[in-house]
Symmetry: C3
Subunit: 345 residues, 3 copies
Amino acid sequence: MKASELAAVLGGTLEGDDVEIVACAGLDEARKGDLSFCKDPRHVKAVQSTKASAVLLPPDWSDGAPCPVIRVADPNHACMAAAKIFAPPEPVREPGIHPTALVDKSAAIGAGVHVGAFAVIEKGAVVGDGAVIEAQTFIGENCKVGERTHIYPQVTLREGTIVGSDCILHCGVRLGGDGYGFNTTVEPGSPLPKIEKIPQLGIVEIGDGVEIGSNTTIDRARIGRTYIGPMTKIDNLVQVGHNVKVKGYSGLIAQSGIAGSTEIGYGCLVWAQAGISGHIKIADGVQVGPQAGVPQSLDGSVKYVIGAPAEPMKDFGGRLLLPKMVAKLKAEVKELKERLAALKK
Amino acid sequence: MKASELAAVLGGTLEGDDVEIVACAGLDEARKGDLSFCKDPRHVKAVQSTKASAVLLPPDWSDGAPCPVIRVADPNHACMAAAKIFAPPEPVREPGIHPTALVDKSAAIGAGVHVGAFAVIEKGAVVGDGAVIEAQTFIGENCKVGERTHIYPQVTLREGTIVGSDCILHCGVRLGGDGYGFNTTVEPGSPLPKIEKIPQLGIVEIGDGVEIGSNTTIDRARIGRTYIGPMTKIDNLVQVGHNVKVKGYSGLIAQSGIAGSTEIGYGCLVWAQAGISGHIKIADGVQVGPQAGVPQSLDGSVKYVIGAPAEPMKDFGGRLLLPKMVAKLKAEVKELKERLAALKK
Amino acid sequence: MKASELAAVLGGTLEGDDVEIVACAGLDEARKGDLSFCKDPRHVKAVQSTKASAVLLPPDWSDGAPCPVIRVADPNHACMAAAKIFAPPEPVREPGIHPTALVDKSAAIGAGVHVGAFAVIEKGAVVGDGAVIEAQTFIGENCKVGERTHIYPQVTLREGTIVGSDCILHCGVRLGGDGYGFNTTVEPGSPLPKIEKIPQLGIVEIGDGVEIGSNTTIDRARIGRTYIGPMTKIDNLVQVGHNVKVKGYSGLIAQSGIAGSTEIGYGCLVWAQAGISGHIKIADGVQVGPQAGVPQSLDGSVKYVIGAPAEPMKDFGGRLLLPKMVAKLKAEVKELKERLAALKK
């Protein structure tokens, strides 16, 4: 698309050559053919060094640019609009069951549902109106998928899993796998223990508006439900153990893990690679920092914890200062010794 | 199911309304329709605040409950029995090969084997009697799957992988992917190195009775075998590098990782998110704590390590006390200075 | 294969019984039927305790072995050659589209391409000459896959993803899932926030010669591209956030994670389970140690960092010595007190 056409669409004015634009990108990552944007004079250096073919700038920008400029009232907003133009078109998933999909005749498929190629929907499953079940997905027996929920390719829902309405499950999500539960008993006279699987008889239940990232795993309860409350947003490669309860409106960032039977309150945020022990409670609104390890319940009196074991930011920061403090103490003790020695003479 | 029917089935006595029960759940997570249980008077508060519709309690419980009670001799046991009643029925995987499955004619499929829809079993593969290969699974050339082993949907076994008898592989397990091995050489006169793939010529071999959690990955050996010994239980999202040897009867908890060529003894437990370096040995019976990082071999003289780098619990605990110790020392040094200054006057 | 035949093939000399050899393995993991190797006299103990059926040793080895020996000039090299003989044969993926694969008629499939069973290739996709798309893989609309790229079973490429030439994508790789992006606004008068999804309009672009391990996830950009530069080697279960840019020739080891919009320079190495924060830059050639957490940009003045927050090895090592230093200080302060007290008398 010509920069001039784009300027017209975005309600802006082109200054400079009418270059060809094929995509949008940030100032740093932009290359030939890209449109970038800046609204903040503090980023003038990034503008000056960008390799974008054109850049969206506000009317009052006076620091120039190394490429044609499209002046617009709100560069951020205009770039989002342009990004939508260049975005790969979202695939249309027409209502209907692909001829290769296997849908058990006892499954209840709602109106306007899309079921993709090689999908398997087993007996007793219920899929709500307008849901999209993409290719190669597996919906086990007696699962329930809510209205307008979108399940991307190659997701598996083991038997009995319940997913709410308006959810998004990304590729490779695994719901309802057996929780990790074994009884280990020492055998008299044997060097090796006896290890027996504890039946995992519960289910996974996902509330409305939940999004779950690629390859995330959520285990079925031993008894009852592993529960992810409404509007919870889970990133990629997250592990949620059996009988965990996430009340809702929380975020679990990439590669974090919640061990069995733990409860996460409303509006919590668990940052990337953090781990939370089993059988504890995290109060509403608490944030657990990246790579933190939480061994015991957090009552909400501290809103942000970090470190392993997790502690308030102040304590964590103090711990980081220890080497300096110890070096200073060492020097002071040395000096005291010398003074004391001098005194004795 | 009516509480009275349930009481009859469980050999207990109902006290209170004959409510409808639809599921089991722990005291905290229970909601309307749930049956919960308690055997320990210390949890009296949890009983009093439960939202369960009925609760299983022992004969001598005298602290009351906010809902109908079913008295039974062993509430734990009774709840497990009830959970089995309410559990989603385990899908029956009838012997036979689904008409959509592709089984190479040279593959040897045992008696009573189930092969699900869209599964692919390649040439030379051997599947033992009574094994279950669920839908959309991929069994590569010359793989061997033992008797009664259950492979859930969307597992992949690359060529030559051997899985023992009575194993369970959960959804998304990846066995036999190439190990991470590259030769990097600096090119004279070039700013960029030459990076060459080292052929990964070995296999993965899994012993009998092993369970592997969802989306866990185990790489094939560079030469020889990556070996997971009998009765080892692996959780979700675990990474096992090439040429790792887990002797057996060990547990690897969620998101832990074992780097290449490391040996894990019998009866070890690697807790969640722990990492173990390559080319080392962990002695029999050692436990590696959550998020621990183990840089060198552990000879078993210490049975539990934690921290990164991993150390005995005593040392790890001592490290946590450092801020207090340093603050105390600081105060003492200050006081010493003052006393010394006073002395001089 | 008889040891004598093997000796002939490898140009070596057999000493001892003409045993049957079925595989290769390292000295420690070897068992009956295995050929092992050693070139370094320092490993004499490992040779003496090996359970291999035969061992490759150099001409000048004089420490004996508990099994038949094949003398060769270069045992390492000979063992690689033997490993190739015993390796499971690499499956041949003949050119052609499997009759069960679904390839949209608008997709452009190059010469000599293999498309496996139950694969789905959607409209507008382009697959270069000689590429291998294995069974049950999903290639979304308008994706591009370069020449000779090998995609193993059960990979998903969401719409618009671009993969270069000579790449290898292992089983379960997820490219182009939505990045984690939400706007959270506090609702006046409501205890719960409003959480809105930020459209993820960009793509993932993978350069030439990139290898990506099993179950690794790389998210599409919010705007523009998440970019993995040429010759980058990514291990299993790695998470790469939206708009990350890896310039090229770098390694990301298992279970590491790179948060959104971060840039990784040329020739970097991110070790296992390390985490790198969003919106920062890691200079060319920097190594991030295992389990490290990098909260801010690294300008390359330090070539290796470790710990969380990450610091130079010297500082990290110093921190480990703190308990000893504090104990020593404590003793010294105690002594000073005593001396001071004695002085006063």
